[in-house]
């Protein structure tokens, strides 16, 4: 990061009080910190969830594969595929 907080704060001490410099700098710093924190947390969470999803998918595939080779009882694969995807959305006017 090229913008270092201490250097900005150092500049802040030279700013006359009546122009409200501290508030302005606080706004920038808080905004930047929030954005960086948000993106970092989001990226971390997403990586974790996608890993769980990949893992789950692989295990389900394995289970179904084993089930098909074994007694022929398919677990899970015969479940209602998706409640919300059951019918394609048709919202065009009917007339």
């Amino acid at each position: 990061m090229t913008l270092s907080v201490p250097s900005v704060l150092a500049q802040a001490s030279t700013i006359p009080d009546e122009s409200g410099g501290a508030y302005v700098i606080a706004a920038y710093v808080v905004f930047l910190v929030l954005v960086v924190a948000y993106v970092a947390i989001m990226a971390q969470r997403l990586t974790r969830i996608s890993k769980i999803a990949d893992d789950l998918e692989a295990r389900l595939d394995g289970l179904e594969h084993a089930g098909q080779q074994g007694a022929g009882v398919v677990q899970g694969g015969e479940l209602p595929s998706d409640v919300t995807q059951a019918e394609p959305p048709t919202i065009a006017p009917t007339r």
């Binding site: 919202i91 006017p93 009917t94 007339r95």
Partner: protein, 232 residues
């Protein structure tokens, strides 16, 4: 089925639904009195909240518009009441009438109900609260209120359409109508305030113009999205 049903023209459909709604309101006569009582009650509250025996100018415009806004909320909440009670929207869709006509009829009905309310409310306002004489400025007031009715009715129709399937409609409708109505109320307030001053000033034509433009834009948007609201 050997023959497709003959399509009904939009105008006929609008007029039929409008006549049905007005007849229902005339027979039950419950919405208009409720709107009137709420508006009158709000005026009385404003008299004490503002601590004024009589009002003029800005305060007068506000004391007329705020009760109207509150009353219109009642009307919007009930706009599709008769349809929703008996699965009327679904039944309407079975008919060969165009889908958008239902919304257009509701907008027209709401505008008429608001106008009927004002026929009573404006003289009452003139008697109870307004300082300056009402009669000399009546034409200006009527013009602004008619435009305001059209705007409120159009946005009320759209909001009521949005809220058709909503579980808590009585919560959703007011919080949607009020922000959407703010530009209309700003324009109506700015138009009426000088007119209601003691030495009534001339109407600044730009504000009725703003109201008209807002009404037209809402009507255009409503005509684009309206058919998607009446559907199931």
């Amino acid at each position: 089925m050997s023959q497709a049903p003959k399509p009904i023209s939009a105008r006929r459909a609008v007029l039929t639904i409008l006549r049905k709604d007005l007849l229902l309101e005339r027979r039950s006569f419950e919405l208009l009195p409720a709107m009137g009582l709420l508006a009158l009650g709000t005026m009385i509250v404003l008299r004490f909240a503002l601590d004024q025996e009589t009002v003029s100018g800005d305060l007068a415009a506000g004391s007329l518009l705020v009760p109207l806004l509150f009353a219109s909320l009642l009307g919007v909440s009930r706009l599709f009441g008769s349809e929703e009670r008996d699965a009327g929207v679904q039944q309407y869709l079975l008919s060969p009438a165009p889908a958008g006509a239902l919304l257009a009829a509701k907008v027209a009905g709401l505008a008429l109900v608001l106008a009927a309310l004002e026929v009573v409310l404006v003289p009452v306002f003139g008697l109870l609260l307004l300082g300056p004489d009402l009669l000399p400025v009546l034409p200006e007031i009527v013009l602004v209120l008619v435009l305001l009715d059209l705007t409120l009715a159009t946005l009320g129709g759209i909001v009521a359409g949005i809220a058709i399937g909503a579980r808590s409609r009585e919560l959703i409708v007011p919080i949607l109508v009020v922000p959407l109505a703010i530009p209309a109320l700003i324009a109506a307030q700015a138009a009426l305030a000088p007119v209601l001053e003691p030495g009534a000033e001339a109407l600044a034509w730009r504000w009725p113009g703003v109201l008209a433009i807002y009404a037209v834009v809402l009507a255009l948007v409503g005509s684009v999205v309206g058919e998607y609201l009446v559907e199931d």
